[in-house]
Structures are given as structure tokens and as C-alpha cells.
Amino acid sequence: MATVATPMKKLLNDPAEVVKESLAGLAAAHGGLVRYDAEAQILVRANPAADKVGLISGGGSGHEPMHGGFVGPGMLDAACPGEVFTSPVPEQMLAATKAVDSGKGVVHIVKNYTGDVMNFKLAAEDALDEGIDVESVLIDDDVAVQDSLYTAGRRGVGATVLAEKIAGAAAERGDDLGTVAGIARLVNEKARSYGVALSSCIPPAAGSPIFDLPDGEMEVGIGIHGEPGRERRPLGSAGEIAELMIEAVVSDLAPADGAAVLPFVNGMGGTPQLELYLLYGEIERRLRNRGLRPERRLVGSYITSLEMAGASLTLLELDDELTALWDAPVDTPALRWGA
């Protein structure tokens, strides 16, 4: 069998074609839910919803199942995947916006990265020119980045998944453009995230790890692009890491005493479920010790950095409406219940 002169330890053909070929495979695997428009480079619902506010998102690839795995009834109407870790281009967002607009306008869920923000901005202007109402919602929940004049602002990470689910339910039940966007913004306000990496990851085009992390060390305060975090520390125990994450998000979110919360423990891609659930156990116990009430939860690798080992905690403070929208049926490749 011939070798491929491409990245080690990767299942692919031509690194330049990874994203396109993967999207085609996703659509083949979930033909009942998503359709791949190869020309426009977007994923849309197999059965487009008529007469509701459209909800789209997009960003660099390599974070699967986000966003393509969240297209379907109860969540996104379309997703715009860029190259690996690279924001998509305005044409894609424009095509998706036109594809899903039923006259009620379209919400753009935009993670706060310079590239994503600029490309979505250009797309929103074009959409406006075509007479489509667009509401852009910026997600910036990563407390590892000090939100100040000295950075591009907090990154959008785990809250993106929660905002897409919850705003998707609002759109599905018929809320109008402003309301759907408002609910997505509320989720962003009520959610905070913090991540830790135990290894780097290998972008197919680069072929080698972005950084390397000796055994026994971890990067704390990481994002989702395999970039190094704020600081490198000795590897902590799961309990210590749980405490670190909780302290970071709770101190910043400052939830009400005894608040109902949704802890979302997310795997970065290369961390086995065995470890992820172990970490979840540590986190739930500590949240209860702080008087918080985990009433809903999500545990799994939903917003990843390719095969990076590590995890992030996103904590969402719930109210009755957010809880009801979370419970509403969703039927996508990666999230499904009540359907």
C-alpha cells in the first residue's frame, strides 16, 4: 500500500481537501438531516424549515461536531465551515443566510475571533444589501482571556453550543428575529468557560503539533485552536483541575446563591470518555458543595480542537425559560433528544 506524504497519524487523502471531503462524508452519513452544498461550501438542513427565523453559525473546521453536527430541527438551519482553524469567507455566510431566510430574518451566531468577526461583518453587510435582516450575536464566554483594551476580547467557546441549542429552540417555536437574538445573547451573558489542555493537536495542513507539551505539564486557559494557553503548569489531578475550572468560571459569572446551573464538561477531542466522566463527577460534587444546583448537564466532546487532549467547563446559569428551551426537542447529528 502506498504511503501518503501527509500528516502523521491522520486518516485523510490530500490535506488541502480534508474539509470538503469530510463535509461530503457527514452529509452521506446523515442524509436525512443535513445536505452539503459543495458549491457554496455550506451545510443546510435536508428539510429546510419554512417560515421561521433562520439561525446560522460558522467558523473554522477542526472543532467537530461544531457546527455542522448541530444542523437540524431545533438547532441550526445552516453551518459555514472554514478551513481547519480558519474562519470561513463572507460568500459562505451570505449563501447560508440567503438559503435559510424565509423573510423573518436570520441570526448569525459569531464566536469572538478577529477573523470570524470580520468575515461575518462583511457578510452581514452584503446580506443587508440584498434586503435580508441580520442580527449578529457575538459569543465571548472564555474567562481565560481578560476582556480589556489589551486583547481582541474574550473568545467564544463552549457557550456557542448552548446558545445554538437554546436559540434554535426559540426560533423553532416561532419567536421573532429580535427575540431569538436576545435569547442567544442571554445565554452568552449567563455562561462562562475555562479550558485546560494536556496535549496539542495536529492541523492537517501543518502536519505537526502546534506546540508541544511535555508529560506532566498542562496548558491552562486554552482556546479551541490548539493555541497555547495563558500559562503552563504542572499537571494537576482531576480534582485540582475541576477546582481550577470552577473557581475561574464561578468567580466571574457570580451566579445567585443556590442557582440552577447547567455544567457543560467538554472534551477537546483526544480525552477518553473514561476521563471526561471522571472529571464531570469531580465538578458536579464541587458545584453542589458551593450551593449550586446542576439541573441540566452536557458531557462529551462537542467543541473540539482536533485530537487535543484536555477539557473545558462551561457553566450556564439557568432560569425556567432557558431550561424549557434546553429541554425542547433537537434532532441533529450530534445532539438529539425528544426526536
Partner: protein, 202 residues
């Protein structure tokens, strides 16, 4: 433009390494993908198309193929420069200076970067100033552009000790110090290519 494409391709892995150090390791690939597309787009044009139009087309192509932060930024830069050059068959030093200033304005409008934020602005700015100064001093365009290239290089080198305040690198806080900014480095490639192009025309 072909010269830009070539040098970007040469430097692709270097740019990617720089971006891996303080970003996400895709800058080289992004720029290469974009200028590849630009090459193809311009190949479709006959010789009669004025430089301004070519720049505008290049900018549109960059926006629609690069993605990331550098796509909209470089795309806007080239579009604004093209618009500034207009339909003229030829351009002189002052035209070029105006075009580059328009490009920089476009980048700043979109990205809001200040000098010293450790971005492409820190190479483009000094290059433009040097070009202006040299032209005012009566230097011929090719010599003025050589000065601009040098200034861009210095500007890029000068980003090393800076802490990034814009883009992905800013997430690293102080850890961004000690690395040269990828975007500033591609700015050097672009100015240098421009210089070589003008030299060739002789």
C-alpha cells in the same frame, strides 16, 4: 502580483511557523491559498486591464479565499489600493503612495489596530512613511520602494518585543512577547514583491 504569490509560497512554512508560535499556525497556508487564487484570477485577464482594476480583483479574491483575520484585512487593503489607483494605465510614485495609504486606512478601519499592537500595521505603516519620505527627497520610485521594504522589515522585526493587543496572539498576553508577528512578516513580503515588480518594469 505573481511575485507576491511566489514569495508567499516560498515563505509559506515560515509564516505558518510564526503563526504557530503566537497564533494557530495557519497564516502561511491562508496566504498561500489566497495568492494562488489571485494568480489564477489575474491569469484570466488580458494585458489591457489597468493596475488599479487588477488590485481590486486581487482584493476581492483574497476576501473570498483566505478567510481568517488576514483575508478580510489584506483583501480590503488591496481593494482600497486598487480603488485609489483607479483606471489609470500607469502610476507614479505619488499614485502608489496614495494607494498604499488608502490600503492602510482600510486595514485600520476594519481591524482598529494601533501602531504597536503587533500586527501587519506595524510593518505597513513604517513602509509607507519611508516611501513618502524618499519620494519627497526626490528619490526615484525603485529606490524609494527599496527604502520602504527596509522599513517594513525593521517594522516587522520590531514586533518581536511587543505584546500583541489584537488578533489571536493577544490571547497569549505576555507570552506573545519575543515572537515576530506573522501578518507583519507577510506585509514585508508584499512590499518587497512590489519593489521587485517595479524594478523589473525598469
Amino acid at each position: 502580483m505573481t511575485l507576491v504569490a511566489e514569495s508567499v509560497k516560498d515563505q509559506r512554512d515560515y509564516l505558518t511557523q510564526l503563526d504557530a508560535a503566537i497564533g494557530d499556525g495557519d497564516h502561511g497556508v491562508n496566504m498561500d491559498r489566497g495568492f494562488d487564487a489571485v494568480g489564477k484570477a489575474l491569469a484570466g485577464q488580458d494585458g489591457s486591464v489597468p493596475p488599479g482594476k487588477l488590485l481590486t480583483l486581487a482584493g476581492k479574491t483574497l476576501v473570498s479565499t483566505v478567510g481568517g483575520a488576514s483575508g478580510p484585512l489584506w483583501g480590503t487593503a488591496f481593494r482600497r489600493a486598487g480603488r485609489a489607483l483607479g483606471d489609470g494605465e500607469e502610476f507614479d510614485g505619488q499614485d502608489l503612495l496614495r494607494a498604499l495609504r488608502a490600503a492602510l486606512e482600510g486595514v485600520v478601519e476594519l481591524g482598529a489596530a494601533q501602531p504597536g499592537d503587533k500586527t501587519m500595521v506595524d510593518a505597513l505603516g513604517p513602509a509607507i512613511d519611508a516611501l513618502g519620505a524618499a519620494l519627497d527627497a526626490g528619490e526615484p520610485l525603485d529606490r524609494a520602494l527599496a527604502a520602504a521594504t527596509e522599513a517594513a522589515e525593521e517594522g516587522a522585526r520590531a514586533t518581536v518585543p511587543l505584546q500583541a493587543r489584537k488578533g489571536r496572539a493577544s490571547y497569549l498576553g505576555e507570552r506573545s512577547i519575543g515572537h515576530q508577528d506573522p501578518g507583519a512578516t507577510s506585509a514585508v513580503l508584499i512590499v518587497a514583491a512590489l519593489q521587485r515588480a517595479v524594478e523589473r518594469e525598469g
